[in-house]
Symmetry: D2
Subunit: 128 residues, 4 copies
């Protein structure tokens, strides 16, 4: 699936690990990702976390999609930082899942905490 | 400020309007934004909403940053869609602000509802 | 329905208005609702907002339930405050709805901003 | 502090454990907590989770308060259920903290997943 994920690959995201309910993805914060303040744009931090989330969801088969997500920004992502997002399934209940994703710098500083809600697809997929 | 926002401009985002507590931004969903399901990646929908949010926050002066945000995905963003994100300040209370952003297609379908929490900067800015 | 809503009535919540996608509810912050800091417990502020949300959802018929909600606390609820929660439907998209609830004091200070996600019931209802 | 927490004690909440960044609280879902559908009101599930969250925050000293929280409802709380909420600190970053709270029945079914954002108090406390 990752082969077809142009958005993630275009951002230089590398998928390091996908297994039952878990995924790890990595992304370097490039100059092209700078916001007006000269730090990594929160949208790209979200893109990385959301990508890890979606592969953790789909690790059981390509049948889940994101209903929503919440992100808390805790530290700036500096240009040049190598971010790692680790997504872990927290709860599955029927069609619904809750996943936690932590985004860290290589030095271990937490840049953002993300929580995503997924649901099994019964119709056409949504964005997310 | 938008001149320096390489992330937003790199995604083809056009800032249409910024005024007291309000901002409107536009983005075309390109093939480069496709996720593994062939629709617009939720991360780019977030990037657009987050961009509108940040300019609405900063419309009073460049002093606020995002603490967090929550997004609900309601319909797929199809490749080729021209998305419009409209950010409106909901409440300001001391240092804290709450902003709502709706992302719609040109036809008016709501793709996502986003809510962001901002705070006035007293130290170095965070991602977001 | 409100007749059977023992939780809301037990907290002294009064439902003032329910119409298409909208509801207004009122609650006095009593000493029984004080938290350890001597102000109104955030759980009761949430209870009020969640009640307004659920009646706004159900204004079309008793078929929706809460999937989740997000609350931002902006000012303390003081003991004796008469809080008013106004819930408004923001978007309906197929089975899913997004509602915004603002909780204000009688003087108009915003105590909390709440956003709820609802879905049409197809099985037994969930909490919320 | 729990002695002064009239809201939590009034709902029959028992605080079982508080230690560095962690708290466990318990509450029986009584008939007084029934919503219009005859199940435990989501507001009381939130009250329990929020209480566990606040004691986990304050486990280092009474200096933090809730800025916001997000709850996902996953299964109904039935009348008579003995709910247990376990709050765990996820990340501390400067003045800001992120806490996760899982609410389970005695049988282990997850009723709700809650995530709270805290901040150190520098002025008068907010609700929550």
């Amino acid at each position: 699936m990752f082969e077809r994920d142009r958005a993630a690959r275009g951002a230089g995201i590398v998928l390091e690990e996908v297994s039952g309910g878990r995924a790890v993805a990595r992304m370097k914060v490039t100059e092209e990702m700078a916001d007006a303040h000269g730090i990594g744009h929160g949208g790209y931090v979200f893109l990385l976390a959301d990508t890890a989330f979606s592969y953790a969801c789909d690790s059981y088969g390509p049948v889940a999609f994101a209903q929503g997500a919440q992100i808390t920004f805790l530290a700036p992502a500096q240009l040049g930082d190598e971010l790692v997002a680790e997504a872990v399934e927290r709860t599955l209940a029927g069609r619904n899942g809750v996943y936690d994703v932590t985004v860290r710098t290589a030095a271990g500083t937490v840049v953002a905490e993300f929580r995503g809600q997924s649901t099994l697809v019964t119709g056409p997929p949504h964005s997310g």
